[in-house]
Symmetry: C2
Subunit: 261 residues, 2 copies
């Protein structure tokens, strides 16, 4: 089956970039994909999917949506499925979808908008968790700079649990980020242990604010730090290190826009 070959190709970043597609596995993820507006190219299932009621319901929903949305649902053998799947205990379903075409031009930038900038984050689990957090806090967009793990890597997609099927996350260059921030008057703050404590902030927050978080070990790159208007830090005991996903959640929470009244 052509979809099988494609799913295997999409395990590698080069394959994903060439085909402009990605794979997502498991019942919950495919439910989220179906509920999103993403372009589904095809779904691979095994006979085991329908063993559980939730799997059977998803299969029925897929068959119903397939003609209108123009994708195929193919049943394959356990062995073929295992060769295409990324997880060790797949639930008997994976889907291939087009990577959404997102860029700075497609960000909806409202008053009080927050952007999140990922600068070289390497751990796919952390990045997936961060995408869920950004989506939950209503961040307008997450921008992954070069050096960050591919947002459509299977582990990121799994960790994000469907968050960036809707949340506006995409990869971009530092130059394009700089141009965008300047053009739309978005203030950039970076985060680092030596930054100004969030407990000492007395001025009102900038209306439109981009917040950059850095690599798990090395932190923010010099080039990005030089672009930032300020560097901020969580008020924590310096001896302890926080998980980057936890730290990002706390910073996004601390710098969320004032509540509308």
């Amino acid at each position: 089956v052509k979809l099988l070959t494609l799913a295997r190709d999409l395990k590698r970043r080069r394959g994903r970039e060439r085909d402009g597609s990605f794979v997502t596995e498991g019942v919950r993820a495919v439910e989220e994909l179906l509920a999103s507006s993403l372009n589904i190219r095809g779904v691979l299932v095994t006979t085991h999917l329908a063993d559980a009621p939730r799997g059977a319901a998803l299969l029925a929903a897929l068959h119903e949506a397939a003609p209108q949305r123009g994708f195929a649902v193919s049943e394959v053998s356990d062995r073929d499925f295992a060769g295409a799947a990324d997880t060790e205990s797949p639930q008997g379903i994976l889907a291939i979808a087009r990577t959404p075409e997102r860029s700075f031009g497609t960000i909806v930038l409202e008053a009080g908008a927050r952007l999140l900038v990922l600068d070289g984050l390497q751990d796919p689990g952390n990045v997936g968790t961060i995408l869920r957090t950004a989506a939950a806090l209503g961040v307008a967009a997450t921008v992954a700079l070069p050096g960050t793990v591919d947002l459509w890597n299977a582990k990121v997609v799994r960790g994000a649990m469907g968050a960036h099927f809707r949340h506006h996350a995409f990869g971009a260059s530092l130059d394009d980020l700089a141009s965008y921030l300047e053009r739309y008057s978005v203030t950039l703050w970076s985060t680092s242990a030596g930054g100004k404590s969030l407990d000492e902030m007395t001025d009102p927050l900038p209306d439109r604010l981009a917040i950059a978080v850095g690599n798990e070990g090395a932190g923010i790159s010099d080039a990005l730090a030089a672009m930032a208007a300020m560097s901020v830090a969580l008020p924590i005991r310096e001896v302890e290190s926080l998980n980057v996903a936890v730290a990002t959640g706390m910073v996004l929470y601390a710098l969320r826009p004032p509540r509308e009244t």
Copy 2:
């Protein structure tokens, strides 16, 4: 070697509880252990430890501290070490230490103290990350209720990166928690998606506050919820689910005591 047998026994919760000891693996964790006041029972190393400068430095520090602190440093074969180690790629060092004797009676409860209550959290990685976060935010104690993963499980210890070698974390019963909170006038708040939004809190926070977070799927137990003065929620889009460690970090940050001025 007796230490080898002990390390293997301590892989299981029953073994850890019987011996009142736990195992920690890796260079960084043993560095943290040595820097803590915990009672070290013994250290197992392989010849590979000294291959890297940091490993060699740690080995020297261990040999220096061993006589005074009364523990042995034993070199074992790679094969024996692999049988005792929990990780797949151990760094050639593990240490056995006494589980610290902590209880409600040993909590230092200052003004503005915060306690964290873990109610049935199952994922050791999440719990390790949460312990790091609680330590970093200066939480006075973390109390693990029955149903929560053992705090001295190898994966929790690894995820915590030494945090609860110092941070006052321990397991306790719901009854003992209830007695303590009443006796010391500590307010208990639980967290749940349906709770009062943290953005809508206008009253000053209680001086002494315990914050309970629940199981990844089931949330807070009914018994604990009934004890809580209030249930609070993060101001997030309901459709999205947050990772429990990220959510805990955000809630602890939001409810931190007012800064001393």
